[in-house]
């Protein structure tokens, strides 16, 4: 390998365009004759649409059209789908309400689009959108999922009686109940997971154009998975057949899950571009993003843990109520089920687990996968329980975890997952050492001397990444296969293009994927171009989410590289009259082992394309593709330890120390992996300390801008100390596990465990805003005074 191979801290190839202002994001795209779209959105959380009057808007300067849902339906545009079928425990399929890109009958959340205006300029479109008169008849509203199932609650969808989407279960109920019957200790808690807004810094955007002569559409869009977008737009929304629709996701400014889905605005822009006969651009403003980007989390759970006389866990019982908002978004049903309850075993040997999950409709923004998707919720439940149980039985939280760790692999949990490899002791030890766990008592004393409260908390998380294999996810209800594809195209001059179905929106694929080629052929990464994000260029792909681009996307590249290497060696052997088995590749050259005979990679590539002298029967060219379908999920795991200091006068929490010790298996570029962890940690700390999507009882989102939704800023968080331990993943050729979500998964319980430690309370709901922390201290003070 070269200095740019696997494990090297190669600086990013993509950076130059971003740091000089030369990135190319969707809103930077400008097409000739382009018009601008503005959406007319519901100001009500639940209302019947009596009428939509467009005359005044149509008469305004520059306005091309005002389009509504009746026209959309008449043109045959299909309803928005949920791509993962979940069956209730009684066997019935989930109750899915109709969701149209433009709603003309009943609106069910504030911000839902009812019409779209296209005009010459954005300001004209916005002026006209305001002039569209919609007559609403307000209906009663549900915001809190706990109200949705109540008798007499307002009904959102006729398809979902009682607002219940499904009532699903996993695990053995009877065996779990038996474990509780014979338990020495039972720990029980109510655990909430607060609703979050993903907030990638680039707001969503779409530029759609229609070529009438070719009956062909092009869509530039902020997508994490352009091929999936094309598939869904074609197969379900009936915009155009796949060969008549090109989807391009150019530079995308962060996704965190929220750019997986195909939203009403993209559908409407495509449809409108044909209707008005000109390209149509829409770019979300931040308020629209708060109202319409799929939200994350929003669970209410009760959890119980059974322990035997040796403090070993014998059972876990969890009831969860998940709020999916007003409609079922693309993967919304999988998040609180197979991405959540299958991880409830954590890093622990728990022989009996039973979970019941009910999902409901409410008059809030739809909820779907957000960084971690289900796994942060599971980790929060299990790690809050572990901490609380340890305190209840008077055991050191680290010792209690260690006692219950899974230590032998493969390990089959009672909730589907089979952990393939790991060393949980190793990451716990590394984290405790890095944070100087033993020295905490003296640091706490120091804080107390300064009038501050100090606490420490840990979280030993496990997650399942890769979201695969296809056959397995298919059997669980997924509507798509979850493999990945790659094509390695060696040019006649020996440079290489790698076409991948993964999509980079901050992950640095152009660099890490190039490192695979450096590793394999000893070529500089500068000789490699990574091509992604365009359905006309790339064969097919499932996109980037669930920390899958390494474990699945790069594995596909490796499979294609195997084929390229094989063919290159055969050509080399033929040209140098050696046996194939004697050909070695080093520093961009193919050599005959034990001789000084060699040919450069460029010479081999040229030979493949000139085809003057190839082995008998060999096709010319040097280009190979592969579709890779993994054999299992991957299981990144690790320990996060957080140390906080609290100002009791104001309730302000400061994270003073944070250590993450992670096992991601093989790491291609440590610099990029560290960056992923830093970002994930701050999203997790943000959830624990700062962020909350708050609705009032009328369904208005109170935190609909950065004035009220607390985004983590630089002075809210510390610098981090990261440690790495490695057990290779046996399930893929590189031994990779994935690192994109771990930070957001492991950190929230570590933070809250530290805060509850500092405060000396058990129960505490995220986010730990200063006022809530202060309130908790007041209540504790009153309680203690009363005792």
């Amino acid at each position: 390998m070269t200095s740019e191979g696997i494990g090297a801290r190669v600086l990013r190839k993509e950076d130059k365009r971003f740091i000089t202002g030369n990135g190319n994001y969707t809103d930077d795209v400008k097409l000739p004759r382009m018009g601008y779209a503005a959406f007319v959105r519901s100001p009500h959380a639940h209302a019947k649409v009596r009428s939509i009057k467009t005359d005044a808007a149509l008469a305004m300067p520059g306005v091309d059209a005002v389009l509504n849902g009746h026209q959309l339906v008449a043109d045959g545009i299909g309803n928005i789908i949920c791509g993962w079928m979940i069956h209730s425990k009684d066997g019935s399929p989930m109750n899915m309400g109709q969701w149209r890109a433009l709603e003309s009958e009943t609106v069910r959340f504030v911000g839902q689009a009812v019409a779209v205006v296209v005009a010459d300029t954005l300001q004209q479109a916005m002026d006209a959108a305001e002039a569209v008169e919609v007559d609403y008849e307000e209906l009663p509203v549900i915001v809190d999922s706990r109200d949705a199932l109540k008798e007499g609650a307002p009904q959102l969808h006729p398809e979902a009686p009682g607002n219940l989407i499904f009532d699903w279960e996993i695990g053995e109920e009877a065996a779990t109940n038996a474990a509780f019957d014979s338990a020495k200790t039972i720990v029980s808690m109510d655990i909430d997971n607060n609703r979050l807004v993903p907030n990638p810094m680039e707001p969503r955007s779409a530029v759609a154009s229609f070529d009438a002569a070719e009956e062909h559409y092009t869509l530039y869009t902020t997508s994490q998975n352009p091929h999936v977008a094309r598939l869904v737009l074609s197969a379900f929304y009936n915009v155009a057949p796949e060969h008549k629709l090109r989807v391009i996701a150019p530079d995308v400014g962060g996704g965190f899950g929220s750019k997986i889905y195909i939203y009403p605005e993209e559908i409407a822009c495509l449809w409108a571009s044909k209707r008005v006969g000109r390209p149509v651009k829409w770019t979300s403003d931040r308020t629209e993003a708060f109202l319409t980007d799929a939200h994350g989390r929003d669970h209410h759970s009760t959890a119980e843990m059974a322990l035997d006389e040796n403090n070993r866990i014998t059972g876990l019982r969890v009831n969860t109520l998940a709020n999916l908002g007003a409609y079922m978004s693309l993967f919304s049903s999988s998040v609180p089920t197979y991405l959540y309850a299958t991880l409830l075993s954590g890093q622990y040997n728990i022989p009996n687990i039973y979970a019941n999950v009910k999902t409901v409709y409410t008059n809030t923004t739809p909820v779907d996968a957000y960084r971690g998707a289900g796994r942060p919720e599971a980790t929060y439940v299990i790690e809050r329980m572990m901490e609380t149980a340890a305190r209840q039985i008077g055991m050191d939280p680290a010792d209690f975890r260690r006692l219950n760790f899974v230590t032998e692999f493969p390990h089959q949990t009672p909730v589907i997952m089979c952990y393939d490899a790991g060393d949980y002791d190793a990451s716990l030890n590394a984290a405790m050492k890095a944070i100087d766990y033993a020295g905490f008592a003296s640091r706490r004393a120091q804080s107390e001397a300064n009038g501050k409260l100090r606490g420490i908390g840990m979280s030993c998380y496990i997650e399942a990444c890769g979201i695969a294999p296809s056959q397995a996810v298919g059997s669980l209800g997924a509507g798509v296969g979850l493999w990945e594809s790659a094509e390695v195209r060696v040019n006649p001059v020996g440079t290489i293009e790698v076409l991948t179905g993964s999509h980079s929106h901050g992950q640095g694929h152009e660099t890490t994927f190039s490192q695979l080629i450096a590793e394999r052929f000893g070529l500089p990464t500068d000789n490699v171009a990574i091509v992604h994000g365009d359905t006309d260029k790339v064969q097919f792909g499932m996109g980037t989410y669930g920390s899958r681009s390494g474990a699945v996307g790069m594995s596909a590249i490796v499979k294609a590289l195997d084929k390229v290497e094989d063919k290159a060696k055969r050509i080399a052997a033929h040209l140098m009259e050696a046996s194939e088995g004697d050909i070695e590749i080093e520093n961009g050259e193919l050599k005959v082992a034990g001789t000084d005979k060699k040919l450069s990679f460029t010479e081999i590539a040229l030979a493949a394309y000139t085809a003057h002298n190839l082995p008998e029967g060999m096709e010319p060219g040097l280009k190979e593709s592969a579709f890779y379908d993994p054999t299992n999920f991957t299981f990144p795991a690790g320990t996060h330890i957080c140390e906080v200091e609290i100002d009791p006068d104001t309730g302000k929490v400061e994270v003073v120390n944070f250590v993450a010790a992670d096992d991601f298996g093989t790491i291609i570029n440590p610099m990029i992996v560290e960056g992923q962890v830093h970002g994930g940690l701050v999203q997790g700390i943000g959830q624990a300390l700062l962020e909350n999507a708050a609705y009032d009882e009328d369904g208005q989102l109170l935190s609909a801008s950065y004035m009220d939704y607390t985004m983590p800023r630089a002075d809210d968080v510390p610098s981090f100390k990261l440690e790495t331990t490695v057990t290779e993943c046996p399930g893929n050729p590189l031994g990779m596990k994935g690192c994109g979500e771990a930070g957001a998964i492991g950190s929230p319980p570590a933070v809250i465990n530290a805060i509850t430690d500092a405060l000396g309370v058990e129960d505490f709901a995220m986010p730990a805003s200063p006022s809530r922390v202060w309130q908790a201290l007041q209540q504790k003070g009153m309680k203690e005074a009363a005792e």
Partner: protein, 265 residues
């Protein structure tokens, strides 16, 4: 934003003329509140009269009586960085350095801030605590008379703040607890001891905007120490309560910030 007509005024009198001629004109200074409000279509002035380039509204000067005169169109960064202000009124310099963020401080002006009188703005507390006077194109106000309620001032429609004069002050300090999201004050307490006596003014917490805490002032007159105010709390009844904190929490913050401001002065 609705369409509007922009005018750049080069003198106060020209600005007044432009304002009189406009249907529904508004003065634009730094624009750090007005422009976001217009972007959200919550304000629709027919005309904007830009004061930022008017030389007579700019600058900070130390006057012979020791007072500091700050032109209304002086930006927060200039107040925060002024050697004169830092020396004479360290609390005011510190306050200006905590408004918004560095980029907002390059645009936002003291005149714009006080004329808007946002209940969470920082400056009103300093004006009230320091007993500042507000000069306009028509007259002069005391700070006590100027701030009349949430987003309300005693200014006439065609009246322009031209300068703020802060009397020499023995001690001054500002302690602010920012709203975690907006970073506006959830409770900002300015304490001062000077020609106008001892004053304590609170911003960010009150439903009607900035207010003084007379009980704390009396206590500090007796003894200038954090302990003097530690047991004095304002009534939560008139304080803001929202998703970021209850009125009781804000009442607590007022006491805590008052203590810290006194300690810092």
């Amino acid at each position: 934003m609705y369409e509007t007509t922009y005018h750049k005024a080069s003198s106060v009198s020209e600005a007044v003329d432009l304002l009189k001629k406009a249907d529904d004109g508004k003065l634009l200074s730094g624009g750090q509140t007005l422009i976001p409000t217009m972007k959200q279509r919550l304000a629709a002035p027919s005309d904007l009269i830009d004061l930022r380039q008017i030389d007579e509204l700019k600058g900070i000067s130390r006057q012979s009586d020791g007072s500091i005169r700050i032109g209304a169109a002086t930006c927060h960064a200039d107040v925060a960085g002024s050697a004169d202000v830092k020396e004479a009124l360290p609390g005011l310099a510190a306050l200006a350095g905590k408004i918004g963020d560095p980029h907002v401080r390059h645009m936002g002006t003291i005149g714009g801030s006080i004329a808007n009188n946002d209940p969470a703005a920082d400056y009103p507390s300093a004006l009230l605590a320091l007993g500042a006077s507000i000069e306009t194109n028509k007259r002069e106000f005391t700070a006590d008379d100027f701030f009349t309620g949430m987003f309300e001032t005693a200014l006439d429609e065609d009246e322009i703040v031209t300068a703020i004069v802060f009397p020499a002050t023995e001690k001054s300090a500002y302690a602010k607890f920012p709203n975690p999201a907006s970073r506006y004050a959830m409770a900002g307490v300015f304490v001062a001891k000077g020609a106008n006596g001892t004053r304590v003014a609170v911003t960010g917490a009150g439903q009607d905007g900035v207010f003084r805490v007379k009980e704390m002032e009396t206590a500090l007159n007796g003894s200038w120490s954090p302990d003097a105010v530690a047991s004095i709390s304002v009534s939560a009844d008139d304080l803001i309560s929202d998703i970021h904190g209850s009125s009781e929490y804000r009442a607590n913050l007022v006491t805590v910030m008052a203590k810290r401001a006194v300690a810092a002065a």
